[in-house]
């Protein structure tokens, strides 16, 4: 089914990939001061964390069960001593609190700033990609990149990497203090570390596979639901409720089955760590107890070991979480970078030429060959010239390549062979933005944005006045129905224009092209295909006025809609088979003649 769409999401992430990390560094770099500060806070927090148990140990050895000098103290003095230790403990705790908060806040803010840059860059890059890219990538996938993937990267910055660093500092700190306090006991305790590392790494492998599998299944659930909602009417009218549910149930079950696998590992991980930490405690009881009996270590030191073991295993317990965070983030960044690395198939040249103002609008095709997919030629050796200010109609059977040809003029796709010139300049040399400012295309699909009617006509172009919007709407006869909407031009329409009739959407899309007032106008026939004859007639009238002195191309299925054009080109299977003025073509008694005869012979 939709399997092809998921391949890209199935990428496997390593938890650490130096190439990716180096690249991520570029995003952190602008905030290196913040990072440095956060690091500083982080290390200081670790130190305060280590100090707590040491104070308890000292309190035990000096005041609670004193040995050596402490034995001389009075009970009163010992109690005061304990009180002072507790006060010191709280002092260090407050310091730790402040540092921990500052560290958390600094990193979190840094994460947000980096995410802003990232989202903005992805969005900007997507704007520069050509339509071929969007043909291949479902909207849902792109959405995931800019929302979920960016968020999991944020996790990397805020909880993953920084916390991991903090944990490592703490772990190393604990080990050092342990070694200083008692070399032998420390080394004996460390015996559990190698098997621990071994087990942890085994878990990571298992969990990684299962998490990846889960992500893919979840993406599938997502896509399936999005699709059935978009096509709900078709689904219902074709009685597909039950069958589609069976399909969905399987996908859903698949998700459950793979997540169950990871569940077992997650459930197992925690107890296993508990057992390891108990093993370490057992060692401390056994070996430390013996030593304490023989007075080799003090009670304080012994208790310190108990406390440290607890703290030692605390971060390891959620190591599994952090590891998945890291690895998810790596996979996310890889997917993000893959999009950022996607070169725009259609690119501006480094040394652009500009159209001489005023733009005249002469359009020339010279031996143009074009294919969406290699080898499947859609246009074959197409050549023609439209003099500035003249109008041309393309006719031909459905699938002949008319829409494709027109989208080449706006340079939505690049051609493989030949060249397309405007006012003698190859369109590959003109910046796309400039080109499209002069070429207005009324597209096949009348896309309506969720927003008000005025925005749908003007888009972001503030130079278009309200007056011009009304005029454009009046031109295409959209004004009467718009004015009847609650709120008129400020009526807000739903996603994809739900609540408007199809013809109404086409009229708004048409008004948009007119409001932009371009020097060259390209009109797809489908642009008015669902509009009634009366309105179409009005539009024809409007078009006639518009086309005066403006280079125009119209695609037509109905010959009646091309009554105003200067010239007609007949396209068949991607080739120009006939061209000329209406009468000329009729006289030729060729393809055009047959089309024409068919249409009006009944």
């Amino acid at each position: 089914m939709a399997a092809v769409f998921f391949q890209e999401d199935e990428m496997l992430g390593k938890a650490y990939d130096s190439r990716i990390v180096r690249r991520l560094w570029k995003y952190i770099k602008p905030y290196w001061r913040r990072l440095l500060l956060a690091m500083l806070f982080l290390f200081s927090t670790s130190v305060t964390d280590l100090l707590g148990p040491v104070i308890v140990a000292i309190a035990i050895d000096s005041y609670i069960t004193p040995t050596g000098a402490g034995t001389a103290l009075s009970l009163q003095a010992r109690e005061t001593g304990v009180f002072h230790s507790a006060a010191l403990y709280i002092g260090i705790l407050s310091l730790g609190f402040t540092l921990r908060y500052l560290q958390g806040y600094t990193t979190a803010v840094m994460g947000q700033l980096i995410m802003f840059d990232m989202r903005s860059e992805i969005f900007a890059h997507l704007q520069s990609l050509s339509l071929a890219f969007f043909d291949r990538n479902p909207v849902g996938r792109l959405m995931t990149r800019i929302t979920n993937d960016v968020d999991s990267l944020n996790q990397l910055f805020t909880s993953g990497a920084v916390e991991l660093l903090g944990d490592v500092t703490t772990l190393v700190g604990i080990m050092i203090v342990m070694l200083i306090y008692n070399l032998k006991l420390a080394l004996i305790t460390f015996i559990v570390i190698p098997p621990l590392l071994f087990v942890v790494s085994r878990f990571q492998g298992a969990m990684r596979d299962s998490f990846r599998a889960q992500r893919i299944r979840l993406a599938r659930i997502n896509a399936t639901i999005a699709e059935i909602i978009s096509g709900i009417q078709v689904l219902q009218l074709f009685n597909r409720e039950k069958q589609s549910f069976e399909v969905f149930r399987n996908i859903n079950n698949d998700f459950r089955v793979v997540s169950r696998r990871s569940l077992f590992y997650i459930a197992l991980f925690f107890p296993v760590i508990t057992i390891f930490s108990s093993a370490a405690t057992a060692l401390v009881i056994w070996v430390g107890g013996g030593d304490a009996l023989h007075g080799i270590i003090t009670f304080g030191a012994w208790v310190l070991f108990f406390q440290y073991i607890d703290r030692f295993f605390l971060p390891i317990r959620d190591l599994a979480d952090k590891y998945t965070t890291l690895q998810t983030a790596m996979a996310s960044s890889e997917r993000i970078f893959r999009i950022l690395d996607e070169p725009p198939a259609v690119q501006d040249t480094p040394e652009p030429l500009h159209l001489a103002e005023p733009v005249r609008g002469e359009i020339t095709f010279k031996n143009v060959w074009f294919a969406y997919n290699e080898g499947e030629w859609i246009l074959k050796d197409v050549s023609f010239t439209i003099p500035a200010g003249k109008s041309v109609a393309f006719v031909g059977a459905t699938g002949a390549g008319k829409t494709s040809l027109i989208s080449l003029i706006s340079r939505f796709y690049d051609i493989q062979k030949g060249e397309i010139l405007i006012d003698g300049v190859n369109i590959k040399d003109i910046p796309q933005r400039e080109l499209r400012q002069h070429v207005g295309a009324v597209l096949q699909d009348p896309f309506i944005f969720a927003g008000d009617i005025a925005f749908n006509i003007r888009l972001h172009e503030s130079r278009i006045t309200d007056e011009q919007i009304y005029q454009a709407a009046a031109y295409v006869n959209a004004a009467p129905f718009i004015e009847q909407l609650p709120g008129g031009y400020s009526h807000v329409v739903n996603e994809r224009g739900a609540g408007l009739s199809v013809g109404q959407k086409q009229l708004i899309a048409f008004a948009r092209a007119i409001a932009f007032n371009p020097e060259m106008l390209l009109v797809m026939d489908e642009a008015t295909s669902n509009v009634d004859t009366e309105t179409e007639y009005l539009i024809q009238d409007a078009l006639e006025k518009l086309m005066k002195g403006r280079t125009s191309i119209i695609i037509a299925h109905r010959l009646s809609t091309i009554r105003n054009v200067d010239h007609i080109i007949v396209l068949h299977k991607g080739q120009i088979v006939e061209q000329g003025a209406h009468e000329q073509l009729l006289n030729q008694r060729g393809v055009y003649y047959r089309l024409y005869e068919l249409q009006y012979s009944h």
């Binding site: 802003f116 959405m143 009218l237 056994w286 009996l293 295909s529 091309i562």
Partner: protein, 614 residues
Amino acid sequence: MHCMQAQIFIFGVFMSGLYYLRDYLRRHAGIILLGFGFIIASNLLGLVLPYIIALAIDNVSNHGLSSQTFIFALILLGTALVTGVFQLGARFIISATSRDIEFEIRNNLYKHFVKLELSFFQQRKLGDLVARATNDMSAIRMFLGPGINNLLNTSVAILATFIVMATINLRLMLYVLVILPLMSIVFGSLNSRLHKSYRKVQDQFGEVSAKAQENFSGIRVVKAYAQEREELRSFNITNSEYVKRSIQFLRLDTLLWPAMYMISGIAAAVLLWQGGADVIQGRISLGQLVQFNTYVAQLTWPMISLGWVTNLFQQGSASLARIREVLEYQPEIADNALTNPEAQITAGAISVQHVSMRYDNNDVLQDISFEVPAGHSLAIVGATGAGKSTLVNLLTRTFEPTEGAIYIDGNEIRTIPLEELHKAIGYVPQESFLFSMTLAENVAYGNPEMSREEITNALDISQLSKDIADFPHGLDTIIGERGVTLSGGQKQRSGIARAVAKNPMILILDDSLSSVDTNTEAEILRRMRVFMKNRTAIIIAHRISAVKEMDNIIVLADGKITEQGTHNELISKKGFYHALYRRQLLGEELSLDAGNLPNESFDAKTYSNSATNE
């Protein structure tokens, strides 16, 4: 006080959530209870570990035997192993069950989604609905899995620990009892503010997603009008507002965890002070002090997780509310008490009587009545927005009329089971919609068991057959999202084939020949006429060529039927239809005129560029 209320409120929300899910929970009651048993067992055993440490320490303090320390170590390890097994059992059972329940709810959600009427979806955002089946479902799972697991764990741990602490030293236990709940208080007081702040972040996140989604789906328009820079600017405004709100939220949110840590530290310090004094006074042993300290450390996590759990419950119940909104939405268009399970469509005779239709307060159809005898054909013409699509949408029960009734074969359509009604109708929507499956699967959508031959036949009627050779994998070419890689006409013809392949008794075409050329249109119509024999057909069109041979033609204007009759009858009426006919004829004549005009300035040579020769 305020915080108390918050806690009670959360508890209430939690209970009502559980109540709502009672059927699901009941189904898994046995295994859930087993899980609870494991949780209790593992927590009780967990209390033993610090006790063993205390015994070991006191053994040394009392200059006991060195061999005993080894025994203590072994007991500790053994207890840990058993505890581990219980922990594993508890965690696995509870999480697996939560996954099962998630699976069941999501299935039900899907089943419910496909029952809901179109208007439900039109009024909501796609992304939002999808989020309910994914993000919200995860939140509910977290509420049921880790949420309940932690709540129970915490309750058992706290209760048991305090009892054990009380048996050792009541006074010390009271200190801890006073300090640790501070965590919940701090949490409670931060939480409501956090919650509000988080809502703002979430709302803005919705804006960011919506902006991106609109841009990506409308990318053709964005590019055609060179709006990329402006779109980026507008996106970044939303983006930076999101960051601003997030930072506001984080300012408070990052306070939570250090505060918890601090409070647990205070408990440890007080214990050191008071407990230390107790040891000095000989009221308790050093081992017991350490045991106490370990308990406090052990309680820290449950206490902190209590905050986390409250969060999970809040998010879970917010999500549950969103799911309930869907699940409890009763589709108005559904089989109900009116439905007569025996009602069948045998011939396809349609009778529409005094039907009116209003969207919100927009009157679209008023008092429409007409009949289409079985096997006859009806054409509907009328201006853009006249209500043509609305009218056929009433026949398929995509919408329900505000007044009047529709009968098929004498049965009011509300009495006909929906499945039966839909089985009888082959519908081609005005806007083509194809699923991302192969072309063959799309055509066979009404009946997956369909033979290859039936598929090819349908494609032949819709005249897509001649294009198939150009598709990379023929019939098995996968159609991209919404059919982006097909030409407009190809999409439309796939839709026609899909409806025809269903072999329906009633065929409805909503302006379904608009994107095909005249030649193909004529070919399709020719084949359609054969296909339509003995079937009832309703065709909406703007071209006379597509409607003139229909048995009856209706002209719809301003929501009323203004003219009705055969092509010839309507022509002689000299009304709207006649004008339409004239207009289309005029188009022809004008093109003829244009053709006749001497055209000096442009001859074919200008256009056939000499480039080829250059």
